[in-house]
């Protein structure tokens, strides 16, 4: 992997973050009128607040400066990772986010693991089964999982497994059992997305020539699916990483509310309720940064995991690219074109291997 490629991806990521900052700045500090009034209380009149307090806040957020200066000052602060101070808590935004992160990370990691397992099982079973009704039922499950409101699923699980059957505690973060129901709730929409993507890409992999070849050479369907088709099919699903992280983060807002857990989602909700503008901006930018980071990691590891792209990349790097746009174009082109071309190639080599 060339440094030039890495630099171009990093630049793209930073560009997205910069635009995200610009957006959130104009949306939150400039668009709907006076942010100081918003922060002091929704819908209040300026006269009803202490003028000194208003002036102090105005100076703190540089709102007494002209707009371009305000923007530049805010941008400089963000570059130094200074998102300001939370209005409600009085702590630094970065500290508030860092403090709320661990419980949400644990929840999201557990939910993602669970979702991956369930999603793979559903997709594999739906591909493998020979009974049409079972296949249709399994294929319809993801659609159901996406349509169920997360807050409602959480409350239903609470009702059944906490109140009717006292299996799990209803609230609290103390015991390890308390994380089970929230994680299951969060995992349902995630597993639906994974199952959907994986099912589609398994079906694509299933009609590839190499699968037919393996089938003809005596592989059982299960072994063929797990050993040969699944690794191929998992690769496109990998690109969903950023979306899944985003979904987990957004879902944690609802799930942490339902199960009265502390975490980033809860922090997001209280900051919006209290119209704590610096904190809202910090959380939105954090979410964007996580998305960009996960996508960057996916982009960088994808060629390492996909043997078809390894060769293509090497060829690509020998040609010196001039501009970022050109480089991006060339990155895209072989990525799109290679599966068709090189699958045939890999299929033929695999055929030889199978014969031997």
């Amino acid at each position: 992997m060339s440094l030039r490629y890495l630099a171009s991806r990093l630049a793209q990521g930073l560009l997205v973050l910069w635009i995200a900052f610009t957006f959130s700045f104009f949306l939150l500090y400039w668009l709907p009128g006076d942010p100081v009034i918003t922060m002091l209380g929704a819908g209040g009149e300026l006269q009803s607040f202490d003028p000194a307090e208003v002036a102090r806040l105005r100076a703190e957020f540089n709102l007494d400066q002209p707009l371009p200066i305000q923007y530049l000052l805010a941008l400089l602060a963000v570059v130094r990772l200074d998102f300001g101070t939370s209005i409600q808590a009085g702590t630094l935004v970065t500290e508030a986010i860092a403090a709320a992160l661990p419980p949400t990370l644990a929840l999201a990691a557990l939910a993602l693991g669970l979702a991956l397992a369930v999603g793979i099982v559903i997709a594999v079973a739906a591909t493998l089964t020979r009974r049409p009704w079972l296949r249709d039922t399994l294929a319809a499950l993801p659609g159901l999982g996406v349509a169920l409101p997360t807050f409602w699923v959480g409350l239903m699980l609470l009702q059944i497994f906490s109140f009717r059957l006292p299996f799990f505690p209803a609230v609290g973060t103390g015991s390890p059992a308390a994380i089970v129901l929230p994680a299951v709730t969060l995992a349902i929409p995630l597993s639906a997305i994974i199952a959907q993507v994986l099912f589609r890409s398994l079906q694509n992999a299933w009609i590839q020539p190499f699968v037919t070849t393996f089938h003809a050479s005596g592989y059982t369907r299960l072994r063929l699916l797990l050993r040969q088709a699944l690794p191929v099919a998992l690769l496109p699903a990998l690109t969903m990483g950023g979306v899944l992280f985003g979904q987990a983060l957004a879902g944690s807002v609802v799930v942490e509310n339902v199960f009265s857990r502390q975490g980033l989602g809860r922090l997001a909700q209280t900051s919006v309720t209290g119209q704590d503008i610096p904190l809202v901006q910090g959380i939105v930018l954090f979410a964007a940064a996580v998305f960009v980071f996960v996508n960057l990691i996916t982009d960088l590891t994808y060629p390492l995991l996909d043997p078809r792209l390894r060769g293509a990349r090497r060829k690509l790097e020998t040609k010196a690219s001039d501009t970022l746009a050109e480089a991006a174009d060339r990155e895209d082109a072989p990525a799109g074109a290679s599966p068709a071309g090189s699958t045939a190639e890999s299929a033929s080599t695999e055929t030889e291997g199978a014969r031997a």
Binding site: A20, L28, P149, G246, A287
Partner: protein, 312 residues
Amino acid sequence: MSLATELQKNAQLAPTGPGAARPHEDRVPGGGTPGRLRRLTSAVGSTRIGIVEVIAIIVLGLAALAAVWPTLLTSVDPLTGNPTDRLLAPSAEHVFGTDQLGRDVFARTIHGSAQTLSASLAAVLIGVGAGVLIGLLAGFFTGVLDAIFMRTVDVLQAVPGLLLSMAVITALGFGTLNVAVAVGVAAVPSFARLTRAEVIRWRSTEFVRAARADGLSAASVLARHILPQVRGPIGALLALEFGSAVLAVSALSFLGFGAPPPQPEWGLLVSEGRDFLAAAWWMTTFPGLVVAAVVLAANRLSHAVNSEKEFR
């Protein structure tokens, strides 16, 4: 639809709209209806319309009826309750039971559909309006405009939809309309991306280049020749996004950002019932089921329209 059909279509009757759908007439009975209705009937009538699609249409129809004319489905007032009837389990008289103030949950759910569905509809309209405009412009005028628009869309996509909506709500304040705007903003990227992809697909086809060579302005080429091609895929996405909008609107009102409490609103109904989870399961279960049913129906219809498109 093949390129030849399109070229033929444009060569034959470029200025007159109704004839444009002539190739369909042999397949769809009653081809005399205006274009949009025929498109709808061809989407529903000509292909695999199963029992599931029928149920989906019935569910959405009932929900729409409840939103437009709630008194037709229930004569009970949703806001006043009888204190002696508090927390009654579902029965013939109160199908969904009653809440802690003795209000009928069924009546509240029926009356709540107006709030939730109109907010979702407004959100989708905002999303499709802004998204299609951005997509058309970005796809047609490549270069700087495309780059600016698509990086903007990238950013909107980088932030999870619910968080983006919450940020917009922070700026605009609470309330049903603001929730609708917030959800609409979050729906813009998918419409913009789809439209742009479709525009790029059609931009270099012969009939578009012919129209350009004829001296038509960019705006009229977009409106008259490219927009009709984009309409089909957008329709399927519209149904899907409507389902997501219902979910997002009810989630936001569940979190307390929507209409204030006395109002019946689906997410709010579920949220009100959570304090009585152990005592009155019906208060959360039924409104949530209604949300799930509407979302499922919308997704199902989107799927049906989509597969019809592929079939064609």
